[in-house]
């Protein structure tokens, strides 16, 4: 935090901290030709239409720290494309993707009143580039989407203060290792009418995840059964089958939306190369339910240890015949 007030030690007079002029809040918007972004309907189910890559560029006058994401569809966008519009975010500088696959924009962007606060800020150096690749998965209609990211900029004038340069140094170190991360199911989740299905959420080899939020949404045309709660789920740590709940929890008891995500009372630590298992039960009895479930948290790069490091493989004591020898 930047303190507002500073006291001159020589005469004890009170001043406004001049850093307040140079560390400024503000927003980052995409180029004008991508705001709004219009993406045509998908040609067929399972074949999304890709929008033009949307480039967010860090400012030239200082480093920028992104705190929250805001986005909205134009009123003309139909409900189905709104519920199926997804995004992949790539950090071009570090060659990182912030999610395991495309995530619904409704799980990434909040609204002006309730933005999605990132569990880990995104640190952008001067002219560092993020690329947002939007996908329209709906065959019903086009999607028109507007977006921005909120944060603060450390302008060049603030670099004259050692506190700022030290803070930036720490932020840069963190940026090497930490970034926000969205983890969704490995494959789309469709629960048959009144039936059950299982989904896995797999972590990559180099990431240690700290999951903070659960966000969910669903699509179903069913009218029979419990259409308000829609489905239940049981989570398990797939590495040791340890359950997180003793009873199945409904959609509204285990997850929120990007305005009000369910903030896990304890962040869920997910080790590299492990996964989450989720057992779903459809409470809607006359139609299948398509479920979109996202964990949002912090991805931490951990060095991938060589499992053979420090292990010496002894030569066999007895000479064995070469393979295939008579």
């Amino acid at each position: 935090m930047i303190p507002t007030w500073v006291r001159d030690p020589k005469n004890d007079n009170l001043f406004i901290n001049d850093l307040r002029k140079h560390v400024k809040g503000g927003v980052l918007v995409p180029p004008a030709n991508a705001n709004p972004l219009v993406v045509a309907a998908a040609p067929a189910a399972g074949i999304p239409t890709l929008g033009m890559p949307v480039v967010y560029e860090g400012p030239q006058d200082g480093c920028r720290e992104i705190y929250s994401m805001v986005g909205a569809f134009d009123a003309a966008t139909l409900a189905d494309p709104q519920a199926r519009f997804s995004v992949q975010i790539d950090d071009q500088a570090y060659r990182r993707r912030y999610m395991n696959r495309d995530i619904l924009v409704n799980h990434v962007f909040g609204t002006p009143g309730n933005p999605l606060f990132l569990p880990q800020p995104i640190w952008l150096e001067n002219q560092q580039v993020l690329i947002f690749q939007f996908l329209n998965n709906s065959i019903v209609g086009a999607a028109t989407f507007r977006q921005l990211m909120e944060g603060r900029t450390f302008q060049a004038q603030s670099l004259s203060r050692s506190e700022v340069t030290q803070l930036i140094g720490k932020k840069r170190r963190e940026a090497v290792f930490f970034n926000p991360f969205w983890l969704t199911s490995d494959n789309p989740i469709i629960i048959p009418a009144g039936g059950q299905t299982t989904a896995f959420f797999s972590n990559a080899r180099d990431y240690y995840l700290l999951l903070r939020y659960i966000i969910r949404s669903w699509i179903s045309t069913g009218i029979a059964g419990d259409v308000n709660e829609a489905f239940t789920v049981r989570f398990f740590d797939a590495t040791n089958n340890r359950p997180l709940m003793n009873q199945p929890m409904t959609a509204n008891m285990m997850g929120g939306n990007s305005n009000f995500p369910y903030v896990l009372p304890q962040p869920w630590s997910i080790e590299p190369v492990t996964s989450i298992r989720a057992d779903f039960q459809n409470l809607i009895t006359d139609q299948p339910t398509e479920v979109f479930l996202t964990f949002c948290g912090v991805g931490c790069f951990v060095a991938n240890q060589n499992p053979w490091e420090g292990t010496r493989v002894d030569q066999p004591a007895v000479t064995t015949p070469a393979y295939g020898a008579p």
């Binding site: 240690y208 997180l244 369910y262």
Partner: protein
Amino acid sequence: MAILRDTSKFFYWDAARRMYVPYYRNKEILPSWMGFSEQDPRVANGVFTVLAAPGNTAPTYFSQPYSSVEGLDENLGTPFEVQNLIFADSTDGTAAANFTALFTEIGDTRQLMNFPCHIRTIAGTALQPAILREPLIVPSRHVIQAVFTKIAGGATNIRMALGGRQYFPWAPEFLRYKSEGEDLKGRIRAMMERRLTVSPFWLTTDGPMVLGAGTQADFLLKPGNDAQFEAFAIAAVSTGAFAWSLEDAKTFSTLMNGQVTSVNATGNALFPTIFSTPYVLPADKRFRLRVLDLSGNPNTIWFTIWGRKIYAPFMEMRDALAETSVPTMADQQALLVPAPME
């Protein structure tokens, strides 16, 4: 939000390896949901049926099992720390749920509320969970009994979860990460000690407040004499608008200089009205709630103050007891409580 961005409890900077390394112990604390006990045969897939009004539904319960490996838990078991209350009503709809709940910690024989509270004044949903300011610690083998009573209408199917985290101090991996296991066990021991002295509490009136059109009446909120009550927030459900004021019934000390309206100063379980400074009501005192109907119609009001009970005497009271030859009943109760919290 600053807390959400703080990763220092989960990773540390290893200067020698020049990288961040996760603390292993966090892997053994899981976010969890504690639903109704599977051992109650009336619970099917987490659903419990509350009988139609005015019937009495027999209690159900939440229970925390005991588990351990080769005694590695050092008698700490697998404690559960409740941090929020979440529910769903599949019959009436969660937003229109119309039943009361009364929770009792059976192991400690502590009632967690003085009278049944309207469910929509104490529990929320995952989008806006009713967050406890004082966590409820449920040790292994402890049971929270829940009595649900329908206020009006037919039977309803409900689900409920105590949301929080579960500790696994006996994880075999702690044989490898010994110091982290000791850290975790130390944290659990501190929690166990604290729960002896502090527990969450919901304070309400003796039944709903029923007002005639445009009338005013006084009601008492009685936390009991066993502990001090610290009030954090207010949540209410009513059939119409009302105005209210709150005062200490014994000292006539008021919390406001006039009546406030429900529109301005009364939240619900999703967004309660939070006291800017918690108010401590000593053990032998009560709140008097003066309520005025503003709706112009008969008005039924369920009013709940969220808080915690502190089973420790005030220092002044203890000093006074040393010099008082005839302690009051309330003072005598206070003598029985455990040592004051640090």
